[in-house]
Symmetry: C2
Subunit: 229 residues, 2 copies
Amino acid sequence: MREPHHDTSSPKPAPKAVVGRLSLYLRQLESFGRQGRETVSSSQLGQALGLNDAQVRKDLAYFGQFGQPGLGYRIDDLVVEIRGILGVDRDWPTALIGLGNLGRALLGYKGFRLRRFRVVSLFDNDPRKQGHAFDGLPVRHTDELPAAVADEGLRLAMICVPADAAQRVADQVVSAGIRGILNFAPTSLFVPPEVSVVAVDLSVQLEHLAYSVHNLHGSGATDDVSAAG
Amino acid sequence: MREPHHDTSSPKPAPKAVVGRLSLYLRQLESFGRQGRETVSSSQLGQALGLNDAQVRKDLAYFGQFGQPGLGYRIDDLVVEIRGILGVDRDWPTALIGLGNLGRALLGYKGFRLRRFRVVSLFDNDPRKQGHAFDGLPVRHTDELPAAVADEGLRLAMICVPADAAQRVADQVVSAGIRGILNFAPTSLFVPPEVSVVAVDLSVQLEHLAYSVHNLHGSGATDDVSAAG
């Protein structure tokens, strides 16, 4: 059995595509669970997601030994395991910074709440936005980030400010002690090695789509899964 | 010299992370060009993006032979090459389907226009939205997709409808002849092999961030770049 990475003292990151598929497995397993199913085979899980069973087994083996040969996986157990691996078995108090159209859309994005990513603080340095409240949350200046981290235990930040403000905001987020940033600004952020950044440059993702349509055919399912990570 | 994949008769998809970095190279090269620079070395390009020069050379070699050893890359030429590889050297008339908060935010997302992804048609099957216009574009029923493809040459569709409506809408998009889908609905879409789907499940990306913060340290820059693809 391979030592689960999340237990090792010097963890090696799982490939991004593997973590992305792990999220998809979790969604599918939860869906099977809601249907009252108790077990699933790697081929059944793969079939529901357009993947072959070898891929499913290889991805899960990356994190440890789950299920039993011939019997498949116990759905409840595997859901708990994957939630633990992903770290979504706990709440993630999250700050949303930048209340433009995208920021306000993200505030209403139900997918986050389903995953225990709770937006608990809003920040925007536009004086016209301060004092206002969205979803009952007041909009504060980013100078108040350190206080919010102390009071609300913020662990993640979603940065939805214009590109030219993003690095300055990221520096404030990092110095406030937040270690995870979801960056929606179309620019690269430079952060210390102990901070993780996931960039969501939607135009980069549209470019990947353009590349696929322009150059490839028959990669729909693969793209779908890999891009989800 | 390796045959550029976009010229081969049976193209093999470039790894998603490579295509994502290609988009980042393009942005950085355009920025260098605006600064009046004419040439750049792989180490200068990599440094600006937090990558080493070997990675830059390996990624570009995937698509062909660019630049000259010792002299580096001519910025103007490489920009043209990368735009051609990505397929962003032409307009991509795009349909936006689903005008909830997220759809309306995407309509205002400037990053798309910079990349010649022009949203030219809006669709929403909520009768209360039909007849309305956003950004001067009328909202139509998805039954009008085939006519819009014929009239406006739609090539891509952004699906921003609720999860339970996404597959039905995707089927309409595909039967209307659109071959590229950017899927914002938090569900997997099944499409024929000739159709490419890039999924943007924002909660999956937040889960990757949670995984990074929960399990890893020191992967910030890598995550930033890989996730951008």
